[in-house]
Symmetry: C2
Subunit: 631 residues, 2 copies
Amino acid sequence: VYEILARTVYGKRKKAEVGVDRLVAEGAFAAAFPLHEGPFQLPKQDVRPDDLNRRQVLYFYWARWSKWYKYQPLDHIREYFGEKIALYFAWLFYTAWLLPAAVVGTLIFVSGVMSMGTNTPSEEICHGGSSYRMCPLCKTCKAWNMSDICTMAKLGYLFDHPGTVFFSVFMSFWAVTFLEYWKRKMATLAHHWDCMDFHEEEQERPRPEFAAMAPTVEQNPVTGVKEPYFPEKTRLSRMFTGSMVIVLMLCVVIIFLVTVVMCRGIISVMMYHTGSPVLRTEAATIANISSSIVNLGLILLMGQVYTALAEQLTKWAEMHRTQTQYDNAFTFKVFIFQFVNFYSSPFYVAFFKGFVGYPTNYGTLFGMRNEDCGPGGCLIELAEQLFIIMVGKQLINNIQEFILKVKAWRQRRSLANVLGGKVSHEPHRWEEDYQLVECGGLFEEYLEMLQFGFITIFVAAFPLAPLFALLNNWVEIRLDAHKFVCEYRRPVAERTQNIGVWFSILEGLSHLSVIANAFLIAFTSDFLPRLLYQYKFEKGLHGYVNFSLAYAPLNYTYKAFRDNDGNYTLFYWELLAVRLGFIIAFEHVVFFVLRAIDWIVPDVPESLELKVKREHYLAKQALAENQEALL
Amino acid sequence: VYEILARTVYGKRKKAEVGVDRLVAEGAFAAAFPLHEGPFQLPKQDVRPDDLNRRQVLYFYWARWSKWYKYQPLDHIREYFGEKIALYFAWLFYTAWLLPAAVVGTLIFVSGVMSMGTNTPSEEICHGGSSYRMCPLCKTCKAWNMSDICTMAKLGYLFDHPGTVFFSVFMSFWAVTFLEYWKRKMATLAHHWDCMDFHEEEQERPRPEFAAMAPTVEQNPVTGVKEPYFPEKTRLSRMFTGSMVIVLMLCVVIIFLVTVVMCRGIISVMMYHTGSPVLRTEAATIANISSSIVNLGLILLMGQVYTALAEQLTKWAEMHRTQTQYDNAFTFKVFIFQFVNFYSSPFYVAFFKGFVGYPTNYGTLFGMRNEDCGPGGCLIELAEQLFIIMVGKQLINNIQEFILKVKAWRQRRSLANVLGGKVSHEPHRWEEDYQLVECGGLFEEYLEMLQFGFITIFVAAFPLAPLFALLNNWVEIRLDAHKFVCEYRRPVAERTQNIGVWFSILEGLSHLSVIANAFLIAFTSDFLPRLLYQYKFEKGLHGYVNFSLAYAPLNYTYKAFRDNDGNYTLFYWELLAVRLGFIIAFEHVVFFVLRAIDWIVPDVPESLELKVKREHYLAKQALAENQEALL
């Protein structure tokens, strides 16, 4: 990109902006960066804290593992790195809010483990012996006994008991309360750092790429200064380009999803044909896990492709004038990409898997029978998927850290080559800093917010998600701190008053999570069928397993509320009405309460608002006096 | 109130604010008001427009019936009456937006009338003869033939055909588009009138009542000026007081609702026992209409009580410092009151009427059988109610106009008494203006916004509502204009940048309307049962009437999807699932699209935003230069 840019700049020299960026782009300089204030290593002899430079202070009090239990010194971070990076670390404060969610989630999980033994339906499955002969799972497979899947049925209860329903309601409120808090925190920080009235468009210069590409020069409508100008495409045509790409990308994701589904089916059939009894009973699980790993690989591969594509799109197709506009457009696009990328597979498992039809009339896709969820229910498969994605992502993060180290090492070697080992003097600050890696921006860091989706959208399936997220973020804070203080060149400080488009994304995620949880509880979980069974027959869950099975020809059974001809029973329709009614009630109540919270809690803390008004008032007074003095 | 206030002011003289308001309150002056600029009557001989005073200009170009087709001269209104009143007339501009809604609504209604004859179910009812013997409607009533209600069934189709479904979707989008437009309009006007940065709390003085009641004097946290101070109750305790009153009021409304329901039942039974065949067949309609009128009376009575109650509450319990805060709190309270007051009865008819149980097992309330909707369906009853309430309100408006005239006349007479008829000189301006009525504020005018609810919330039942609203508002504009120019004393001009809490109310109404329409179409309308019947039996609507009837003992029939034992049939449960599914689909799609519209359309027009930024920038530059000049 730099090469192309440099050539473009040459071509349009008369209009191009000048500055160090251009010299770097043209290759006159190898790099340009602000210097660190000194080494981060602490001096060996004892020194007073006053003698430390600011980098050492940050290292000593913040960027070390041994400080894991400490708050983050946001003001110091801001002083050294600027508002943008400080705000990122302030955002990581959401880690603290994860604590209650993690505790409740763990309690829910533990209560599931405790009551696992006393669960009537899984007891009935385990002690059913050969009384329930289940339909074969594929054309050439054999029938099987329901008691074979005793373990899975017991495990399934872990992810599908009344506690998870409570937990998903809890997490909806948690998410909204957190966002309300974050809004207030953001306002307070922006005021504290004096960037509340920071308007990007007024003060930001055009991006160098924009300046290089712009065909004409025109007056900036705000400042009146002549600036490179690009005839702005209309908002609508931009949107159109953007949406077309998103649609294209959706198609690709769906193709990959189908691939993974087919892959899972093939693995599953292969397992059955090995003949090994262990492989046969665990076929679904093995197929599920292995295809999840394939899926993860695809996700990561596609993620790279998508990000590159989005960068090109944002850069060449849309031509945003300022860096902030560019960042927002890019962020939004990549987020949509990544969201569909990461979440399509869990969504498929949660809501679309299991539409199998019934024996003698199975639904098919490309000649293969539609997938059914394993005997433990869809929720346990969803939990497996989420676990693999979350842990997998963590693994990739570690690999990325490793790549960073390799980069740093190569940088250092190339510099050593240049100097030719003939360094006689104490290395200069700029030499030392040149050995460090260039900071790649906060985009990748913020993309971790996908995590927020995992802990809210599918929380009903995986109550341990907040705990994992908490542990991950706890590590992340010190890891990132260490990177910024010790491994990165000092980035150019940037001002900002909020986290930009990320906040809208978070809000969207929290709303989506309410809807997803409602559907998850209503359709994927076994919660409502059990409840309705208990209510209708007034004998607890005794006989529920038998009741939930339908008879196929040859006296085989399968899980569905159908009569012997495959038509839905009255209970099925009653249950459907209950399910849909539950969704309506859940969404209306939760959204209403959330709106009420949003309405009652002011976005700016009252004391801060008074302060701002006071300042406003004083400024006006001062202006009036000033003018009097002039007259 | 003035008496009490005057005494309070006397008692706490040292802390009280001084000014003309206090002198009026103490009776030293009879009144204090800004003067009109002259007579509104046009001079008899021809004059050039430049010679007219501003009041005459307003009268000539705006406040006359003959100008009904003209836009409103907002800038002139603002110049003469101030921003607050001008903004009210700008709001009335929503009249123009009603035009498309009224046209579409009328088309829908006409298409209903056109297709009334070709409607299969009502044909089947009319030609059924005595083949359907219906269950008696009360204990002592007789059974009746379904063909008796042929007319009602035909009329019912007017309010319950596929067009109304389309219309309610259309109106949801209409409402949101209108609000988006209004947001932009409001921002433009606020900028145009230079009150965008108007912060009430900085510039508004405490209300006289507040000053009089305040026990101590403290520094204003913003201006630093010593001011009467009232130890502010916490937000929460205020909310609590407010909610308690609202709950209390809800109870009262429900009691009145039950009264009206009982009243309707009693009238209906009485009709049956008159023996007249006409009265018998139309019993339900007559009962419905007469009880609607009773209901309207109660609504108006309670409205007066509520408003008085809310005023007291806001004044004494909450103690708001500024007039704006007071107005907002008062407005919100009265709106909630009036909303429940006006809408509870339509809500009852739309959603709660018709839970009657089945023969041999009727549900009862205080020993009376629960009400069922008339044979035309609940929608036609709802339409009747809405019609009566809307027309009734219009009637009351006219009565209020009359009261205003009476007031003006009394004012004039009392002044004549004071002067004793010994007026020799040409009357002074202040004498003429004193004869006018004091302007009661815009609150009553804005309360007309309840109308917005009628045309959005129950639009499925009454497609003509937008047309009525349009006609009403068209008249209202010139009527209000005439009042302000000719009949009111000139009000003190007030600044404001928006319509305050009313906007939130409108937004709430538009959201509520989506939900209400979804439920109305799903449950109250016959749209979905018919659709499902057509889909399942593939023979159009033939036989639908027979299918929708259930058999009671003695071979009587009644309208329900039940078997002979009174249990719900499979079709009922299927239908219930379809209904709930429809609600979910409708709400998600509509809300999603609405959110997208809200997100895509910027709240402030782009050109205005540039202008504001430019001004901001110039101000900053000027400040910098100013400071340089000082140094």
